[in-house]
Amino acid sequence: MTFKRFVEIGRVALVNYGKEYGQLVVIVDIVDQNRALVDAPDMIRSQINFKRLSLTDIKIDIPRSPKKKTLIAAMEEADVKNKWEKSSWGRKLIVQQRRASLNDFDRFKVMLAKIKRGGVIKQELAKLKKESAA
């Protein structure tokens, strides 16, 4: 049970508390044992406590405290956005946001789709039962 996700320069993390909740940020420098300097393309570089960060598997290659341009270029090169949206954690977050933003008509459509899916599953199950009984 060794550790796989380290706090290091270039580690991508998700903010899980506070004003920037839900943003992906990159650890750009380490202030001390409890705080890191983080940066993202659309926010001012600031310090944040590790308690507010959830580390991800993604790591990019940057020098310590890079310029904003270098950071954005490195993020493009490592394709952070796509990697995040394809990862299972990222996909789950996207689904959560989609479900939270449904309106009543969408929820009605979801209900119909669920009933249809349930019907198809029951048909297949009935077929399999008949085959195993026979």
Partner: protein, 178 residues
């Protein structure tokens, strides 16, 4: 950025001109206070100890707040201070890693209160400086000077994303492994 308890001010003052001394010497001090009123008061406190001038026969010429020049760069701050303990006055040198000087000074006040039970009125800041990496004295700050620093977070604190979503009881035990 979080608002700081202590702000850095530059206070400039001199004695009032008298018939005997038309152009008294002007003195400038950089000090920390919670607000501007306290900064002026502190200025007279220190100046009284150094020169023969009081608030009643002096005037403050300028009072400006000093802001951090590079708040997005992590620096090592060395703070020299003089504090009053239960048994007498002592000098101390402390190092802090922070992005702003105000943040480091606030860390210093917090640490003096917790480690030595010294409250803020009993602390006088003699000098502050940004210390380059090779001149740092304390192991605690030197351990973060590694270019390739990395460490795991060993304990994941499970928190709801905001205080409104806090619940007293949970259905299952949380997984604390990162």
């Amino acid at each position: 950025m979080v608002s700081f308890r202590f702000h850095q001010y530059q206070v400039v003052g001199r004695a009032l001109p008298t018939p005997g001394d038309e152009q008294p010497k002007i003195y400038r001090m950089k000090l920390w206070a919670t607000n501007e009123v306290r900064a002026k008061s502190k200025f007279w406190y220190f100046l009284r100890k150094l020169k023969k001038v009081k608030k009643s026969n002096g005037q403050i010429l300028a009072l400006n707040e000093i802001f951090e020049r590079y708040p997005t760069v992590v620096k090592n701050y060395g703070i020299w201070l003089r504090y009053q303990s239960r048994t007498g006055y002592h000098n101390m040198y402390k190092e802090f890693r922070d992005t702003t000087l105000n943040g480091a000074v606030e860390q210093m006040y917090d640490e003096m209160a917790s480690r030595h039970r010294v409250r803020s009125p009993c602390i006088q800041i003699i000098k502050t400086a940004t210390v380059p990496n090779d001149m740092c004295k304390r192991e605690n700050t030197k351990q973060f000077h590694d270019e390739k620093i990395r460490f795991p977070l060993i304990f994941k604190k499970v928190r709801p994303p905001s205080r409104v979503l806090k619940t007293t009881f949970k259905a299952s035990r949380p997984n604390l492994f990162m």
